[in-house]
Subunit: 113 residues, 2 copies
Amino acid sequence: MNRESNMINDEQAVDIFKALSNQIRVNILQMLKEPDNNFSPQAHVIKGKGFDGGVCVSDICSKVGLSQSTTSQYLSILLQSELVEMKRIGQWTYYRRNEKTIKQFEKYIGLKI
Amino acid sequence: MNRESNMINDEQAVDIFKALSNQIRVNILQMLKEPDNNFSPQAHVIKGKGFDGGVCVSDICSKVGLSQSTTSQYLSILLQSELVEMKRIGQWTYYRRNEKTIKQFEKYIGLKI
DNA sequence: TAGAGATATCGCAAATTATCAATATCCTTT
DNA sequence: AAAGGATATTGATAATTTGCGATATCTCTA
């Protein structure tokens, strides 16, 4: 029951549009689709620990070529819009795509846009 | 042949995200889905003349409650991203959704985001 | 517990966006 | 040709975003 619970609202959708209104943030989301292919072989990509595919900030940072502070801030914008999720393990913070939100967003586009 | 011709590129996609990163512009696009239901009965909604469903700027303007200049500018942002198309007929400029781009955008989200 | 590494936050200057009033342009009609 | 209505453009200011360096916080290890 309650199919609506899967639907994001207009406000959330605009937040997502804002998050994606920057090429580099889009790139980050795209790179996270295939962490193993898109980051250096020695990159810190998680297997196991309940957070498969998570990539740590410094690897994303060196890949996108922006400063650490900007990269961190962009990740937090993606996090706030729930396009990604994060988990801190030790001194590293791992980010990965939040496929649930992305699916809901796709659905929103099809129905509401 | 050439299935790729239907696919928008990353840059176009970011332009679309920017266009949609504003609630009012999203509202305009949504209202244009059903012009007859969303505008006043005496609104200037086109039937025929090869531009069915087109709505003129002043009707959109009074509906969204922003100034004429802002409304016009928002429409031109939507036009540049090709989310809408326009046709000038006499002294009126009619805008309507560009379903082709919207479909391509939907496809882009599914494949690239 | 002091240092070192990873990430987040703060403060800032530059660039961009939001929004309006005023003005210009384009059509139509007289 | 002039007036008037519809839309676009311009100029201006306030607000937001971009992106950085500096600093703070957190966590591990010596």
